[in-house]
């Protein structure tokens, strides 16, 4: 083997080893690398419910209710399989809407509802003009009435 072939082999082998090590490390820390847990994970006891953690999912349609004090907001975060009722008092991001994604940070109360100290909106990667969105919504509506 020529000297430069030796060096090339060394670099490729080094990168493969490092890549493998990185993959193993990231895999081992899988649970710590997620930004939020799903309501299903919380129900299965996989979330760190003892301390502050985050739950993410969709804000269930029709679930947003303002309490009588005008500050507290109650809503339900769902992953369509399981859902968690959330209460929160504070400013909500503009994109916080029913049927859209949200990530809430806080603690699980004794009665099973989630007391959020922070609410973040999670938007998707779809970008389209309002007219296109309108068409998509109508198509959804049509397919839903068809299937009923």
């Amino acid at each position: 083997m020529k000297a430069r072939q030796k060096r090339l082999t060394l670099i490729v082998a080094g990168l493969l080893l490092l890549g493998g090590a990185a993959a193993l490390i990231l895999n081992a820390f899988q649970d710590n690398l997620v930004f939020f847990h799903t309501p299903t994970e919380v129900a299965e006891g996989k979330a760190p419910t003892g301390r502050t953690f985050r739950v993410g999912g969709l804000v269930e349609a029709g679930s947003i209710k303002r309490a009588a004090d005008g500050i507290t907001v109650n809503f339900v975060v769902t992953d369509t399989a399981k859902s968690i009722p959330v209460s929160y008092s504070g400013p909500l991001p503009d994109l916080f809407r029913e049927g859209k994604g949200a990530v809430v940070q806080g603690k699980l109360a004794a009665d099973g509802h989630f007391e959020a100290s922070e609410v973040l909106a999670k938007h998707d990667e779809n970008y389209m003009p309002p007219e296109a969105q309108h068409a998509v919504d109508q198509a959804h509506e049509a397919s839903r009435t068809m299937s009923q």
Partner: protein, 252 residues
Amino acid sequence: MTRSRFNIFRFAVPQNFYPLAGKLAPIFAVTAAVLFLAGLWISFFIAPTDAQQGEVYRVIFIHVPAAWMSMFIYLVMAFWSAVGLVFNTRLSAMMAHALAPTGAMFCFVALWTGALWGRPTWGAYWVWDARLTSQLLLLFLYFGYIALINAIDDPRRADKAGAILALVGAINVPIIYFSVKWWNTLHQGASVSLTKAPSMATTMLMGMLVMAFAAWAYTIAVTLWRVRSLILERERNAEWVNEELDRLEAAA
């Protein structure tokens, strides 16, 4: 078989690459300016308002090209570093050095515009999710690379040390790219990828791609100019460099 007279490897010699870079750089600079203006025009006047986010989504036309470039430039840096280590070519290391500041700049722009986009949409400038954290690590890798090659006086040793850092850091790039797939993050997934149809309106996509090409052309232009300076600095003991410097002085 007769060998063709044109041999691309002759441009691995700094003395031959210097005039080529000088010829190509202005072409890419003009291309970048034209594409940048066209891209901004599409971004602000032709692309429609987004149904969800309103006008704020227009950050995407800077944010995504900058983020793409920051990752791609690091990979190109790692490539030239590997070539330099394997073949012991002088020019390869200079290419890697010349790319680093532009990569760091795009990385900072991606983080900065991301923060400005995150506040009105997510409700936070910054969160420690996998995508944002790995992108911040990329910025530190760029800073670390620039600091390292400048901290070592002997250029050959600086090249080697920098090359190893660039190669090791390259492992972070696929982590950034796939972070939104491997873990749940606040950052949304990719709208444009090789494996699926883009999930955005055509004019929006056009604006983003034109801006991305502008960023490419800009990167090539500034890198070539920077490589020219590096060649003059590194080869300052060569006869042709002294002649070139005299010529530049006379022209100034």
